[in-house]
Amino acid sequence: MFDIIIIGGGVIGSAVAYELTKYNLRVALFEKENDIATGTTKANSAIIHAGYDPVPNSLTARLNVRGNELAHIICKKLDVPFKETGSVVCAFGEEDDETVRKLYHRGVENGVPGLKILNKQELKTLEPNISDEATTALYAPTAGVISPWEYALAFAEVAVQNGLELHLSEKVTDIKEGNVVVTEKGEYAAKYIIAAAGVNCNDIESMVAEPDYTLKPSKGEYYLLDKSAFGIVNTVVFQCPNKNGKGVLISPTVHGNIIVGPNAEASEKEDLSTTADGLSFVRTAAAKSVPTLNLSTNIRNFAGMRANTNEEDFIIRFVRAGFLSLAGIKSPGLASAPAIAEYVRQLLEKDGLSLTEKENIVDTRKRIRFKELSPEEKNALIKENPAYGRVICRCETITEGEIVATFSSPIPPVSIDGVKRRCNAGMGRCQGGFCAPRVLELIHKHTGIPKEEIVKDKSGSTVLSGGAL
């Protein structure tokens, strides 16, 4: 009998696991894919929003602002790449100026610190490449960018160290009376089930009761530009939402790239394809903010799926006794993740779950990032372990030592993208063209998985499907 079963290993499920494993509870997490962070968590704008966007007094507003505050603390503690770049919402004309003022007041009401309306000149000083058409902007200094998958992995890794029973590649197929979770591999009873299934929230919820909301999945397509484009913007550059849509953003990433997107297109939730039309929309829209943006430095396109619903707010409530559903967690879900986890803990406590803190819990995390070390540190590290002297991913300068270390981490990767999410190998301009064969070799060597069975990402994404000669 588990105290808690969490369904879904995205950033929300992982954050909840991190929060609840601090207490004397038996906690399990079920994820249908072979790794943490393979859904919306790995394909989004990677923004920790400041919190001026949500409607005042909504759950989203409260959790966003609190989540932003927590992100600043947690990222330091758990060694998650986070940069407080600040953000600007740019206005292009009088109607937008009015929106900027409205967002400012909203933000103040939501308790967002440091907000400021910039005039044209101030905006130009902050963002020299911004279009001359931009009139004013809302500046939010606490907004930032993060590595979303590392955020989720950090939560989940620490949770595993604190006793989380992690079941990867185990899809929940039903939930029976008595709070019994049925998977492809077994049945597990729990006092509480917490559904954090992202775009699949309605599927999981309907195993218990007909959802009282409608899921409206919305796809967003992106460009990810080479590091040579870094510096074209300094902050997260948004456009004002207006009658023509929400606009697209241009933002630095914590990895030193530039991300551009997304559009918003109603979609089947399984459809993560990019389209000529979607990408064309993003190109045109982005040029409005930064006319000199050069998309020919693109290294990757991708699409992510928003778990939008007919409700504007997050939908977090007990659907029946012992079943807590976290539904409709779309943007700013990433920014809100640790606050959602905190809120879940409060709801459980209120429901009567007794919480006593565990002794000697792990609440730190550190990983070696070779390229950030000083020459002396590099030398010392290589002396200790020569594998840190061999660079495998040359675009990102990731060493064999860093890759091998992932295999002894609390949640070892089983795919090439799993390695990428843990140490950035293959994330650069050649997109794994050079290092993927070497990473595959290392996966084989350290996990024993036969080469022809190693996958790129999810189960079935076999790399060498032609087999051995």
């Binding site: 979607g278 020569p386 002297g389 499907s465």
Partner: protein, 413 residues
């Protein structure tokens, strides 16, 4: 202080190092990131290398060995990655055996080669399943590791590596359904169209592109469409092919991150450093050669160019700086770039080797070097194509007092 440091132990780096040694440098160091020298030639097991240089048809590894076995008195650090090069010729590198190193050189030769353009660079829409590889990555899996990436392939782009892989996979039992080329002409050598596609009845779709890749986890199929003169897909011309693999052979990009880091000016047309007649970059004492300067069609030319770079590096390291007035070379009508971009006539030995690519397929044309209206030199060609590099040799005496030379394709009158 090292005399000459060569960065990269592929065909360019090896030829440069040998030439530096043979021209008097006694302390030459080659730094190679792989565990053995030879570079990409090690996985190019097909024949056709060395026809110009050795009058033989060698495979890539054989061609590389001709240089690798001539490295007496040259120090080679393999399994060593250069992290940074500075304009004042400091090389920072790292390896398992030597840790983090900082080496000062009198002269540096950049020979890092190139990398393949990826799916991202051309933004092919669709799903993102496994099964989409650059042709070179698939070649490594097959020829070095002995694994086939798939059994049913479509190749996008008709660059040489893609064509070579079409034949290679077919011989190993895969079905290559099509080679799809955006341009109205092939990007590879004509001989490779004949012996890699025609021999196996693999259709070549010119003026076509892939508009969609489908597959949840592994590639399941592609949509192909004809493109118009604007290279945009024409609605209604789409057709589907079921396949488990898409190979990309859509161009090579000189790998100049170290060059940029050193602040060396890069020519936007070649994506390589601007170079003088002796392959010196605009940063004194730093030379560049091979595919890091411009993408070559034949390794034989890489070797020859790199020997000039190695010799010049040895001369520079001995204290003789190149000097004199500079003639700018411009790419004129029908020419996409030239190497070198700058010529110092006083630093030339009678004639200058000039390399460039044409922008289109031409029959019976003249390649003309002009100083304003004056014809400096002219070369007849029965056939030129963008897939094949052009090479002309221009006597310095004919350049006269020119300040600028323009190379263009002209009709034969």
């Amino acid at each position: 202080m090292r005399e000459v440091i060569v960065i990269g132990g592929g065909p360019a780096g090896l030829a440069a190092a040998i030439s530096a040694r043979d021209n008097g440098a006694t302390d030459v160091l080659v730094i190679e990131r792989d565990t053995c020298v030879g570079g990409i030639l090690n996985q190019c097991i097909h024949n056709g290398f060395g026809l110009h240089r050795f009058k033989e048809e060698l495979s890539g590894p054989e061609y590389a060995s001709r240089f690798a076995e001539n490295l007496d008195n040259i120090e080679v650090l393999t399994d060593t990655m250069v992290l940074e090069v500075t304009a004042d010729r400091i090389v920072r590198a790292v390896s398992r055996d030597h840790g983090y190193m900082e080496l000062q050189a009198k002269a540096i030769v950049l020979a890092m080669g190139c990398r393949e353009r990826t799916r991202g660079a051309i933004s092919i829409p669709g799903d993102r399943p496994a099964g989409v590889y650059t042709a070179g990555a698939a070649q490594r899996y097959l020829n070095i590791e002995g694994y086939m990436v798939g059994k049913n392939a479509v190749i996008l782009g008709s660059g040489d590596i893609g064509l070579i892989m079409a034949r290679r996979m077919t011989l190993e039992g895969a079905k290559v359904h099509a080679c799809v080329e955006l341009m109205p002409y092939s990007g590879g050598l004509t001989r490779n169209i004949v012996q890699c596609l025609n021999d196996f009845d693999i259709p070549l779709y010119l003026s076509h592109t892939i508009t969609d890749i489908r597959g949840k986890n592994r590639v399941e199929g592609v949509t192909i469409a004809k493109v118009g003169p604007d290279r945009k897909p024409i609605a209604g011309t789409e057709f589907d092919i079921e396949c488990d693999t898409v190979l990309l052979s859509v161009g090579l990009i000189p790998e100049n991150e170290l060059t940029r880091g050193a602040g060396i000016p890069i020519d936007r047309r070649t994506n390589g450093a601007y170079v003088y007649e002796n392959m010196e970059t605009l940063c004194e004492g730093i030379f560049a050669c091979g595919n890091v300067v411009h993408v070559h069609d034949l390794v034989d030319y890489v070797s020859a160019e790199s020997e000039r770079a190695g010799k010049a590096a040895a001369i520079y390291a001995s204290g003789n700086k190149a000097s004199g007035r500079v003639i700018e070379v411009e790419a004129g009508n029908g020419v996409s770039y030239t190497v070198p971009q700058k010529i110092r006539p006083e630093n030339c030995d009678k004639k200058v080797d000039m390399f460039f690519r044409v922008r289109n397929v031409y029959q019976n044309v003249r390649l003309v070097v002009r100083d304003g209206d004056r014809v400096v030199a002219s070369f007849n060609r029965e056939h030129c194509a963008p897939g094949e590099m052009e090479h002309i040799v221009v006597p310095v005496a004919l350049m006269g007092n020119a300040e600028k030379l323009t190379v263009s394709v002209e009709e034969v009158k």
